[in-house]
Amino acid sequence: MTAAAPVADSPAFEIAGLSVAARGHRGETALVRGVDLTVAAGERVALVGESGSGKSMTALAAMGLLPRGIRRTGGEIRLAGRAIQDLDDRALRRLRGDAIAMIFQDPMTSLNPVQTIGRQLVEAIRLHRPVGRDAARARAAELLDRVHIPRAAARLDDYPHEFSGGMRQRVMIAMALANDPGVLIADEPTTALDVTTQARVMAILDEVCAEAGVAVLLITHDLGVVGAFCDRVAVMYAGEIVERAPAATLFERPRHPYTAGLLASMPPLEADPDALTPIPGDPPDPRALPPGCVFAPRCGLADARCRAERPALIDRDDEGGAGQVSACHHADRVDRPEVFA
């Protein structure tokens, strides 16, 4: 990795060897194990997985916002080359909402219901910029305008419940971008919205991120969102990254059966419901992981070796995919229609 590289050349955001565990009655349960992820300046990377795969925990760990009872057990988080995981609360606070910002899944509950939109935007600005109330308010109106809220200045005095879900998520986007962060983590930003609103919010996110040149880590379970929005994709399963590749390569030629399964279960654009194949079975209980490949119990390609020996993430460049890595003993046999036959 680039730990030794000069700070100036470092990627905007890096996660290296991140592990996260939950404290339980009988010791700790690992939820995230050795995750590596890099996002270059201006780049957009998707972290894809089913719910419970550990993708949201990865994001929260990166922000230092893990809930009670869950802690980072190892690894580094680097912002522009600077390791931030061991900073004290005060120093970390200075980065949150400034150098690195985050938007959350549910816009209905992510805004404070008893404060006006304006007040919450002004707070985001004034926590990091020494500007007066009026200047911050002007900036807040400008931010709302950027996410295409009509009559932005007039709506500053409205409360969250007076906005629709899609508009609330746009407010969240505006708030996250208030201080021109270098990195934006978007955790399932459209999952709680209906389909038409989803497209609108993603378009606005796309537009403002391009304008701001911000590096984006998009957390999602929906590969459909990924294709249009992201440069690269990392696929997470049961707390581990199982495949990482440029978006186009991944869609064209997945090198992990789980990725292939996700692609097969994606609703196609031209309606062909018979082609929809859900992945059989359920993800493993993190307290009782299989000894070999974590995906083996659900995999059509699994053999004795898969059940005994955990595969490492291996570079698939030699097989023709540039920048593609996957953790599978049978990567060469991964082919979409056959995996779950």
């Binding site: 009988r26 349960t29 307290r287 992981l289 000894p291 083996a296 119990p297």
Partner: protein, 294 residues
């Protein structure tokens, strides 16, 4: 790691959730609550056996009144030379009896009224809930006082007064639960299978509201003991010389400087009983509501 790891790839079956009682007993608040209530209930039941003396027997002489705790009188004696321990035990018996009877009546009436309001809906529902709300507009003790005065003194009046102030809570609870259960999938299934309304109420609605009713009943019991002691303290409970904890404390008030044990022991009995029901109620509430932890 847990021992489940060694079981390999087999997905462990989720353990069957234990019953309400087991979950309550397992939490330490519930455990203490159960122990306290167990002690109180045992003392109340066995009061005639445990009492060293007749709670009403007076021994009027300079040496026998206002005695502090001793081997013969572990809780001392009162202004009339009566054994305080015996009076406290019988007082607890009375308190607990009144609390159980009144909450039992409140649960029975509240469940019927609430379930009917929830199932029938419409005009019935609105009228009944309006009535219930208007009774909630009274300060509880004052309502209990007014009712017990109207019904006359004695155990019956006290029981009915306390039952009455508890009815609104159970009516609202039963109504809310009925509406919730009516929405459930299995109810739709039961309707499709041609199950009659009374049958559905008996087979599904009532059993399914058991847990929330038990939680509320525990809180109501603590409340009932408090109100009973308050009414007795004000002289509106059962008439003297019957041993009731509130009345004992009211009588002892005049001698608090001389014989504080006359106040202390009945007070302790009330606090232990109420505390026990509150702990049980808390633990049961935590056990039934996943949002309430810690």
């Amino acid at each position: 790691m847990t021992d489940a790891t060694s079981q390999g790839t087999a997905a462990p079956a989720p353990p069957r959730p234990p019953g309400l009682f087991a979950r309550v007993a397992r939490s330490w608040t519930g455990g203490i609550g159960l122990v306290l209530i167990g002690l109180v209930a045992a003392s109340a039941l066995a009061a005639p056996l445990l009492s060293p003396a007749d709670p009403l027997a007076q021994q009027l002489s300079a040496g026998t009144i206002f005695q502090g705790p001793s081997a013969a009188h572990p809780f001392g004696t009162d202004n009339l030379g009566r054994d305080v321990l015996s009076r406290v035990l019988h007082g607890m018996r009375f308190s607990l009896g009144v609390a159980l009877a009144s909450v039992g009546i409140a649960v029975a009436i509240g469940l019927v009224a609430g379930t009917l309001a929830g199932t029938l809906g419409g005009w019935w529902d609105r009228a009944l809930m309006r009535l219930v709300d208007s009774f909630l507009a009274f300060p509880v003790l004052i309502l209990a006082i007014a009712i017990s005065v109207a019904l006359g003194r004695g155990a019956g009046g006290v029981i009915l007064a306390i039952a009455f102030v508890n009815i609104p809570v159970f009516t609202r609870l039963a109504r809310a639960q009925t509406l919730k259960i009516e929405q459930a999938q299995y109810m739709t299934a039961a309707v499709l299978m041609g199950s009659s309304l009374p049958m559905r109420i008996l087979r599904h609605t009532l059993p399914n509201m058991l847990n929330p009713v038990l939680v509320q009943a525990s809180v109501a019991l603590s409340f009932a003991v408090l109100i009973e002691s308050g009414l007795s303290f004000l002289g509106l409970g059962i008439p003297a010389p019957a041993p009731s904890l509130g009345l004992m404390i009211a009588e002892a008030k005049a001698y608090i400087a001389l014989a504080p044990h006359m106040v202390a022991f009945p007070s302790l009995a009330i606090v232990v009983t109420v505390l026990g029901f509150n702990l049980l109620g808390d633990a049961a509430g935590d056990a039934t509501d996943p949002r309430r932890r810690g």
